[in-house]
């Protein structure tokens, strides 16, 4: 606050409209009286002056970081974690109206005359002491059944991919808000100053996929340093990070020092905070030239780890490689590691496509959880696996048990979580016998966000950012912490 005032007194340009008026009030008695009567009248008026000190949680956290294994395209809950035997008993029969209750559908199936119930072609078994139902697509995840908590009562309002995934990532169906990872970076600060606190890794399966856009890891109205950094596979994980040929590291240092002194001059002139951000970003990029290649280099991983994640993990750009990378990044203090695996949008040819998709992610996801566990990192790292919504219990298009598809379904779907202060081996929430609606312990996306923030020691109602005259939260005006999920 004092420093802020100092800069203001030094720099007449760094006065925004609201600050100008509040300063004006000093000379105007009546306004001064106004501030006496309403103590907060001018306190928060000058832009960011009243932002609380950040970089520390509101209460002692259970988790320090998050690895989000996002299955983009929305895997069907009926072929993953929500076992509904009635679908086989009533195969081909129409979905009872008492279940659907005329709820809206996408225009891909809204005009269907019939909604024939379709059972999964894949088998289901119960696993672990928790007797968790897991489909045979996921033999490896089945091995960690007692480490994970399956939530079968997720629900959302969005019915199409882009709004749904944007909702999951930013708390709003309309783009422009900061991403989850950015909020955490803003709230908790970075753990390792040599790496970004929010990193994104993408991979793509052979299944029908939907686009991913960088808006999903944008920092929105938060400072640009909180933006997610996409790490690419291959030679240049971060574009333009490496020095051009012929430039030595000491040349680079010299260059940065000169640029920085010029930037500082400009900062004194204008007092623009983004200039300071920029100086810090250049410095971080300089350190990242050393730290990123080191973190990305999996050649030091022993054979046993490679075997654990699957040979796939040596092929850059695969989900398995990203999962291993995620562990290395978490180990090096990255707060939020976001993986996306595309290809889960099965409107047709569901069984075969899902089998392929599951093969891509099953072993590496389970390996990641086990690897984190043996390193004691499951105690302070939260792992989440899931898509943006669920899929319908009826067949999309022509009824054919050998080649069927499922349309989008926002009213109920399954995800799982592990570690980071979440109770292990829990089966939370229930859908009705058709798996259509949630009947017990619903978890809305806002609740999911609130719970996730809680494990990280953040009160979702307190972590706010004032922008365009209003305080924004990741959970906007909703969300309850699901205490039953907490260990």
């Amino acid at each position: 606050m004092m420093e802020e005032d100092k800069i203001k007194s030094e720099n007449p340009l760094k006065v925004n409209r609201r600050h100008f008026f509040s300063q004006l009030s000093v000379g105007i008695g009546s306004l001064a009286l106004g501030s006496l009567l309403i103590p907060d009248l001018f306190k928060n008026s000058a832009g960011q002056i009243a932002q609380p000190t950040l970089g520390i949680p509101h209460f002692a956290p259970k988790a320090k970081r998050v690895i989000y294994l996002f299955q983009a395209g929305a895997p069907s809950q009926f072929e993953t974690f929500d076992y509904k035997p009635i679908l086989r008993e009533r195969m081909g029969q129409d979905l009872p109206e008492s279940i659907r209750k005329g709820q809206r559908l996408t225009n891909m199936t809204a005009n269907q005359d019939k909604f024939p119930l379709m059972p999964p072609k894949v088998g289901f078994q119960q696993h672990g002491e928790s007797r968790t139902w897991i489909s045979d697509f996921f033999p490896h995840i089945a091995k960690i059944a007692d480490e994970i908590t399956v939530v079968r009562s997720m629900h959302t309002e969005a019915i199409n991919h882009d709004p749904a995934i944007t909702f999951f990532q930013t708390g709003s169906q309309i783009s422009g808000r900061p991403s989850m990872g950015s909020w955490l970076s803003y709230g908790l600060g970075s753990e390792n100053k040599n790496l970004p606190s929010f990193v994104v890794l993408t991979s793509r399966g052979k299944g029908n996929s939907q686009g991913l856009y960088s808006k999903l890891w944008s920092s929105g109205f938060l400072d640009s340093k909180h933006q997610g950094v996409l790490l690419r596979s291959g030679k240049d994980p971060v574009l333009y990070l490496n020095d051009p040929e012929g430039i030595s590291r000491s040349d680079k240092r010299h260059l940065l020092d000169q640029v920085s002194s010029l930037n500082k001059l400009h900062h004194v002139e204008t007092g623009d905070d983004e200039i300071e951000s920029r100086i810090a970003q250049y410095e971080m990029a300089y350190r990242m030239q050393m730290s990123v290649p080191d973190v990305m280099d999996v050649s030091k991983e022993p054979e046993s780890i490679i075997k654990l994640y699957g040979e796939d993990c040596q092929v850059p750009g695969t989900y398995a490689a990203n999962a291993l990378q995620a562990r290395r990044l978490a180990e090096n203090g990255v707060r939020f590691i976001q993986l996306y695996h595309q290809g889960w949008d099965q409107h047709g040819n569901l069984h075969d496509e899902m089998e392929g998709q599951a093969k891509d992610v099953d072993q590496a996801s389970a390996a990641l959880v086990m690897d984190l566990k043996q390193r004691g990192m499951l105690e302070d790292t939260l792992v989440i696996w899931g898509g943006e919504f669920g899929r319908g219990n009826y067949c999309q298009g022509k009824f054919d048990p050998n080649n069927y598809g499922r349309d989008h379904h926002p009213r109920a779907f399954s995800i799982w979580m592990a570690g980071g202060g979440i109770k292990p081996g829990l089966n939370y929430g229930q859908t009705d016998e058709f798996g259509y609606n949630v009947v017990e312990n619903p978890v809305h996306i806002n609740d999911f966000h609130a719970t996730l923030m809680h494990t990280l020691g953040l009160d979702h109602e307190q972590l706010t950012y004032k922008y365009q005259g209003r305080r924004f939260r990741l959970t906007d005006v909703a969300g309850n912490v699901i205490k039953d999920l907490l260990a």
């Binding site: 000190t53 970089g55 520390i56 949680p57 509101h58 209460f59 002692a60 956290p61 033999p139 490896h140 091995k143 600060g189 970075s190 753990e191 390792n192 100053k193 040599n194 350190r287 050393m290 046993s304 075997k307 654990l308 699957g310 040979e311 796939d312 398995a320 180990e331 090096n332 203090g333 093969k359 891509d360 099953d362 072993q363 389970a366 390996a367 086990m370 690897d371 566990k373 043996q374 390193r375 004691g376 105690e379 020691g457 205490k483 039953d484």
Partner: protein
Amino acid sequence: MIFESYIELPALVAWVGRWHPLILHFPIVLLLIGIFLGLTGKKVPKKLLTLAVLTALITAISGFFLGRESETKGNLLFWHQWLGGGLALFAALWYGLEGLQLKKPIYSKILQIVLLVLILFTGHYGGMVTHGEDFLALPVNKKEEKIPENPLIYAHVVDRILENNCVSCHNANKQKGQLLMTSLDNLLKGGEVGNTIIPSDAENSELIRRLHLPLEDEEHMPPEGKKPLDEREIKILERWIALGASDTLRLNQLEDSEPLVALVKGLMEPDPMEKWKNLPKVADSTLQNLASDYLTINRIAINSDALSAAAFLPPEYDPQYILNLKRVAQNIVELDLSGLPLGPQEMGLVAQCTNLEWLELDRTPITDVEIDTLKNLSKLRLLKVYDTKIGDKGVGVLKELQSLKSLYLWKTNTSQNVLDDLKSTRTNLIVDDGIDDEVKEFFIKSDSLVEEQ
């Protein structure tokens, strides 16, 4: 017209009663001035006495009206009214005596002293009626009694929640809404509205209904201005009623899956911040000075002096940036030194962090010699020493760390029988010596990619 006045009068009476808290200050001050003059042998001016007695009478009458409003009269109100009435009476008596111009002033003086005593007591009782009985009690540290190991749900948990949130208005002296919340019998009896608690039917219990009303609702309890119950407290009350509102139910009689178990256990858990309350104070500037590009140091939570520190490997390693932590050694409860080329100097610092609960030393060159320096870390809860050179001797040291709950030590020089011995002697300690061989085998065999080729 007659009917109208019949209806209007009580409203007007009530309104007059509402002036009681305002008017009462006049007779107190005026009488006290009069008594002071009288007792110091001065003459009490007639006009002062007249005014004092007049206001005392008005106060008594308005107080009587105000008293009519509350339907049940607790002890406090009962005494306040009788004392107040007596006070007005004695004041009038004094006025009469002064008029008689008695020769012996001793009667006047006795009367004045009686009045003084009456003013004090009436005022005190009145104050207690308004502000609660313990308003003037000395501030006691709200030292909440520890909930016993296997608590009675009503006596140790529910009653405590009611005591902390409800009883200040629903006690024998101040029975708001005719509801007493001091015992289970009274709760079951209910108040004005009835159905305060319907055993096995939380939904229709008035108590629960009112707790769930929006804060701004008139009927929400506790009323505006008082701290609302938190979610857990409400859920505990709800589940307890749903389970029959018994006063003999104990925690261990409940199934583990019963939500009440987790709720009550949560209440029993000590606040994690509590244990760190007495740590030395650390200034933000100190933290800023210690932090660098390769050392992150944060408070565990806002307003806490417990610190968490993590060091990363700089291009040129010089242990000084870690040794600087000595200044705040007492405050560090979490320390991550994994992957660093640690030597005796750094381990010397670790030994000084006596409040350490979480220590990461994995992937470092430490051996049994360095492990020996950990023996005084009596609060250590989690230790990571996998991928190090520690051996059986080191395990012997770790075995003595009584607070230790999680130990990660695969890829070390320890022998299997020593580990087995550790696991069997320290049953509350989770020893992670790597991924289960059987599981590992499964993962190697069923590799998705290899299978396809």
